[in-house]
Amino acid sequence: MKSAVVVFPASNCDRDAAVALEQITGTKPVMVWHADSEVPDVDLIVLPGGFSYGDYLRCGAMAGQSNIMRAVKEKSEQGVKVLGICNGFQVLTETHMLPGVLMKNAHLKFVCRPQALEVIETQSVFTRKYQAGQRVVFPVAHGEGNYVADDETLDRLEGEGRVVFKYAPGENPNGSARDIAGILNEKRNVLGLMPHPERVCDPLLGGTDGKAMFEGLIEALG
């Protein structure tokens, strides 16, 4: 599996993502600079966490307008897998590659903690190594992760099996509609999620629940 990590000026999980990818796939991902207008030929593009352009105005809004995102969008239309983590998820909603928006957390505070999630959907290249209903713990670290969409969109997401992760019942950290933590696009090749699987690929960091996502991707993409 060949992968690329997009680096925005204030990305700050680009290294975390690269380390996790290298650890699991054995090869270093290509780091792609935000001002570039082309993404190399890869199987997986990761949009990492961070603050892209300082996240002024709205998180991910300015990154959504960058050169590189036009290229990422094109690749995704050709079927390349795209994984947006945290800020990456925000960028994906801002470019409308995923529906809905991520608003300020309902309690208005930044939240960083180990977060229990439920795997809802395993029919995807991202979650095929998990079991439906499995409880996993990924850290969350965000100020704007409150997923909002209209009821029709939410029904559709649920009906089409595109809600992949939900916060464990009663443990919603940000007020997200229907406890949604991560969703797929219609073609199921783009996943956006607020929690950080790449920060739990090393037992020293509090768990390895994130590994299965990358292992599943390798299995599917070779």
Partner: protein, 80 residues
């Protein structure tokens, strides 16, 4: 030309920030405070002198960047 762009949440979209302010005002003893909503005010200086053209440009800025029209609406005010 100077423009003021107001970006606010659409009706029906929950506004926790506004709610928190309303709550805080209540705690401070202010009475008769009803709904409170918080939005953004963006002040932009433009070199464009034609009003219609400026408006059109501002509208495009709002659609492309300043507002997320999934949940937000915008209003444009021009001052010569």
């Amino acid at each position: 030309m100077k423009a003021r762009v107001f970006v606010t949440l659409k009706n029906g979209v929950l506004d926790p920030q506004g709610k928190a302010i309303g709550h805080a005002l209540g705690n401070l003893g202010f009475e008769g405070v009803g709904s409170v909503r918080q939005g953004k005010l963006i002040e932009i200086e433009l070199s464009e002198t034609d009003e219609a053209k400026a408006k059109a440009a501002l509208k495009e800025m709002c659609e492309k960047l300043l507002a997320n029209t999934v949940i937000e609406k915008y209003d444009i005010e021009l001052k010569a």
